[in-house]
């Protein structure tokens, strides 16, 4: 049996950014006539690998081979010239141009009198026809099409050039079920014609519907390449998060939770809280002194939900009650004045104010609450700053240093200080331990437990399931923009059980699984009786 010849081979490629190795000697291959899916969690290196293949990034070491020739991509154009076409999650076309232009620009039919639009549009129509879009008028503006159609136009563009390889980067994020079927039909057709298709998605169901082969990355390293039929969902997820089957089961929660009086008015209660395109209407409540974990894979909607709770985004639907009283959370100012603080997912984007000092970053939210006129007195600032810098051991111990010079872990600690300084009743932590060294991680996890013991409500979001399982009293499970389950933590709850809830085929089934799990936990509580909590 002859080994099939790969059309694209990545050999021991590495890409390093300051402080982080995004790709660590990754090897990878794409075979023609297959749909090959790339899977991995946040920071796994998926996106980096794609960018290396599309010429956006250049690899620091290793080589990329296309059709037997070693390639050096100097930019997107050279990758395209090598026969690699890419369609992105955000349809990277120009909506202000016509459909025909989007398909053909760069390859138009040109003559002495400039571009021959009639012939060009005819070619566009042909390309569109091969996607089943032959009825579209190439002269219509692209913006008149739905995102799903626009994506198919993007694929048509890829087909116009001599593409041996088609990369689809999260193509289904904005599509509904029907549109996904249409897309998959087209993908299968292309595959059957011998195109090598690299599919990137975090929607497990879709991955299993369309893939032939799956490669898993984790922490920038290559974990393994598998034929889909040889790998079931639970195995896949285990590989993605790095724990094998057995250890997943063993990672039980040590938390013996005190029975919480659920009849007490929750600190925060939301009914039908939702935002179009971000998260379906969801019910969630949080009690004082409770740590609620949001679990789910990338794109499940955890951050979106947290942002709605904090007022960072405005909700389209739903009501929110704080201690039983209805409130309107339509801005971060509103959230903060209600005692809700939110530590964001990306400290670089919307967390740190880079050029300001550590001191200024810590007291920023406190100062904002006081208004512009009343300056927080120096003594109070110093106290705040010293308290938090000591408590979290911020290094270097220099409050006047610009925060952008600190390491990621220390930046995160400073931000934690900022939010805690506002004395919130409810604190939302979105990926607080991402990209941080082990010591700092432990610090932050300890702090979360302490805060909850002190009566603060905490929402804890992390891609590392074991963290969520270890710290949370209750776990809300999200999948594909929906809440699919909620579980009270207990000895029966393990990372594996959460995973199986997420891994289940459809939303309804997942809910059933979650309910079953919840019942198990409840039964367990009855059996073992209520022990005092040991955290």
């Amino acid at each position: 049996m002859i080994e099939p010849i790969a059309i694209v081979e990545v050999r021991n490629a590495s890409i390093t950014f300051p402080g982080v190795k995004a790709l660590d000697e990754v090897s990878f291959r794409l075979l023609p006539g297959e749909v090959h899916t790339l899977m991995g969690e946040n920071g796994a290196g998926k996106s980096t690998l794609i960018k290396a293949l599309t010429g956006v990034y250049q690899i620091d070491s290793g080589e990329i081979v296309v059709a037997g020739q070693v390639r050096h991509f100097t930019g997107t154009a050279s990758a395209q010239a090598a026969g690699i076409s890419t369609v992105y999650q955000e349809v990277n076309l120009c909506t202000n141009l016509t459909i025909g232009e989007n398909v053909m620009l760069g390859h138009e039919v040109r003559g002495l009198a400039g571009v021959n639009w009639r012939k060009t549009h005819a070619l566009a129509r042909e390309a569109l026809a091969r996607m089943g879009l032959g009825d579209l008028d190439p002269r219509a503006p692209l913006s008149s099409l739905s995102i799903a159609m626009q994506q198919l136009v993007a694929i048509s563009r890829a087909m116009v050039t001599d593409s041996k390889v088609l990369i689809l980067d999260e193509p289904t994020s904005s599509l509904d079920a029907n549109e996904v079927e249409v897309l998959f039909g087209v993908i299968r057709r292309l595959r059957d014609q011998g195109v090598a298709i690299l599919f990137v998605s975090h929607f497990l169901d879709q991955v299993y519907a369309i893939s032939d082969r799956i490669t898993v990355l984790r922490n920038g390293k290559f974990v393994g390449e598998y034929l889909k039929r040889d790998l079931d969902r639970t195995q896949l997820i285990s590989k993605m998060i790095g724990k094998d089957f057995e250890s997943l089961r063993a990672l039980g929660s040590n938390r013996q939770t005190e029975a919480r009086d659920r009849t007490q008015t929750p600190l925060f209660a939301a009914e039908g809280l939702g935002r179009k395109g971000a998260i379906e209407p969801t019910d969630v409540d949080i009690h004082s002194g409770e740590v609620v974990g949001f679990a789910g894979l990338l794109g499940a909607g955890r951050t979106e939900l947290a942002r709605l709770i904090a007022g960072a985004d405005k909700a389209d639907s739903g009501t929110v009650r704080i201690r039983g009283k209805k409130v309107s959370l339509n801005s971060p100012v509103a959230g903060l004045s209600q005692g809700i603080a939110y530590s964001t997912e990306s400290r670089r984007d919307d967390g740190i104010v880079g050029d300001l000092s550590v001191r200024e970053n810590i007291m920023l939210a406190v100062q904002a609450r006081r208004g512009w006129f009343r300056r927080v007195p120096a003594r109070e600032v110093d106290q705040l700053v010293t308290t938090y810098m000591e408590r979290f051991s911020v290094r270097p111990n220099d409050p006047d240093r610009p925060i952008r010079l600190l390491s990621g872990g220390n930046q995160q600690k400073v931000l934690l200080g900022r939010w805690l300084a506002t004395n919130p009743d409810l604190l939302l932590l979105d990926e607080p331990t991402r990209g941080i060294d082990v010591g700092a991680k432990a610090d932050i996890q300890e702090t979360v437990a302490e805060l909850a013991e002190g009566g603060m409500g905490v929402v804890f979001i992390s891609s590392e399931l074991e963290e969520v399982v270890r710290l949370s009293e209750r776990i809300v499970i999200l999948k594909d923009h929906q809440k699919v389950g909620e579980v009270v933590n207990g000895p029966e709850v393990t990372a594996e059980s959460i995973v199986s809830v997420i891994a289940t085929e459809s939303g309804d089934e997942a809910e059933e699984q979650a309910d079953a799990l919840a019942e198990e936990v409840a039964a367990g509580d009855d059996r073992t009786g209520l022990e005092g909590s040991a955290s």
Partner: protein, 356 residues
């Protein structure tokens, strides 16, 4: 296995998906809606234009008059040329604040060259080249040094104005036999009764050619469509493999060169006189014309013909104010500013509605 044929050829056409049929109806309707959305400012401008002209005719008479119309067109020929260049720049999402100043420099430098004996035609060519050089510097600053367009062209504006003033603060006049004056010769196209003649000049003809050239560029060349792409979504244009960097620099070179050309036409029209204070405020006229004509300041949408309508609106405005005689010329700048603001706000309202 190698695919020697393109993929498009290997994949047979497919029966049209039902979705695409639905999409087809949608596209027809939304094409109309889409077109109308972008046309609203231009239509408003047209209505405004005709409104003003009719008002002027009723109030002062002799507006729809071959002589008046043609002399108006001739005197606005330089503005038309500038408006074409400005349209291209603004569609790409940028701005060029230096056009007036570049006109000043080009005209002064060109005339001075003629006066020291340089061949008239060569001098005119150099006037265009000077403009192109200013544009090149701005383009490089913007594309390769990531300087914001308004800062880069603002600096160019002061530089050009300053250099013009260094060359001469007093008017310079081209020699009487200079070929540049040929561009101002009157060609009577229609010999009407008394002074009602439709007279044009070669300068106006040049402006018309520039408009036609602009139309060709924007709608029938790859680079022209790339300009729209850059203005619509620059990163997409990049990812589509279009030559973004090269195009951007060329846009500013063209704008500069057209400023040089406008300088030639203007200098000819005023009898070969050039001064360092020429062109003050012309960039605002050009921007106003482009905005009134329907080009979005944020880029991606716009037409050259719309900008020409915009020039006519400004011309009509000026006509009314001159004819009226009672309106303070001081009000002119406020009125132009107010009209510009109104159209900018109109654009903003329309884009907000479209995006929601």
């Amino acid at each position: 296995m190698s695919t020697s044929r393109t993929l498009a050829e290997t994949v047979p056409p497919v029966a049209d998906l039902p979705e695409s049929k639905k999409a087809e109806n949608v596209t027809h309707l939304s094409r109309l809606w889409e077109r109308s959305q972008t046309l609203i400012p231009t239509l408003t401008a047209l209505v405004l234009l005709f409104g003003m002209l009719i008002y002027a005719e009723i109030a002062y008479g002799r507006v729809f008059h071959a002589g008046t119309m043609s002399s108006l067109l001739v005197s606005f020929a330089p503005t038309i040329i500038l408006a074409v260049g400005m349209t291209i720049v603004i569609v790409s999402g940028g701005i060029d604040l230096s056009v007036g100043a570049v006109v000043a420099f080009s005209s002064v430098a060109g005339v001075m060259l003629m006066n020291i004996g340089v061949n008239g035609w060569l001098s005119m060519l150099l006037m265009i080249v000077f403009g192109a050089v200013f544009g090149l510097i701005a383009g490089v600053m913007i594309q390769y040094f990531n300087v914001q367009p308004f800062i880069a062209t603002l600096a160019m504006m002061f530089l050009a104005r300053g250099l013009a003033s260094i060359l001469s603060t007093t008017p310079v006049i081209a020699p009487e036999d200079s070929p540049i004056l040929l561009l101002a010769t009157d060609w009577k196209l229609i010999d009407g009764p008394k002074v009602n003649d439709f007279t044009i000049t070669p300068g106006l003809l040049i402006a018309v050619l520039v408009v036609l050239g602009g139309l060709f560029f924007m709608h029938r060349t790859r680079m022209g469509r790339t300009v729209y792409a850059i203005g619509g979504n620059e990163s997409s244009a990049q990812l589509m493999g279009l030559p973004v960097s090269r195009t951007r620099v060329w846009i500013y070179i063209v704008s500069g060169a057209l400023s040089g050309l406008a300088a030639i036409v203007y200098t000819a029209e005023v009898g070969g006189k050039a001064q360092n204070v020429t062109g003050i405020g012309w960039e605002l006229d050009a921007i106003a014309a482009v905005v009134i004509g329907g080009t979005l300041l944020t880029g991606g949408y716009g037409y050259i013909l719309g900008s020409i309508v915009g020039v006519f609106v400004i011309a009509a405005l000026r006509l009314i104010i001159t004819k009226d005689g009672t309106i303070n010329p001081e009000y002119l700048t406020i009125i132009t500013g107010a009209v510009l603001l109104a159209f900018v706000l109109l654009q903003r309202v329309l884009t907000r509605r479209r995006s929601s």
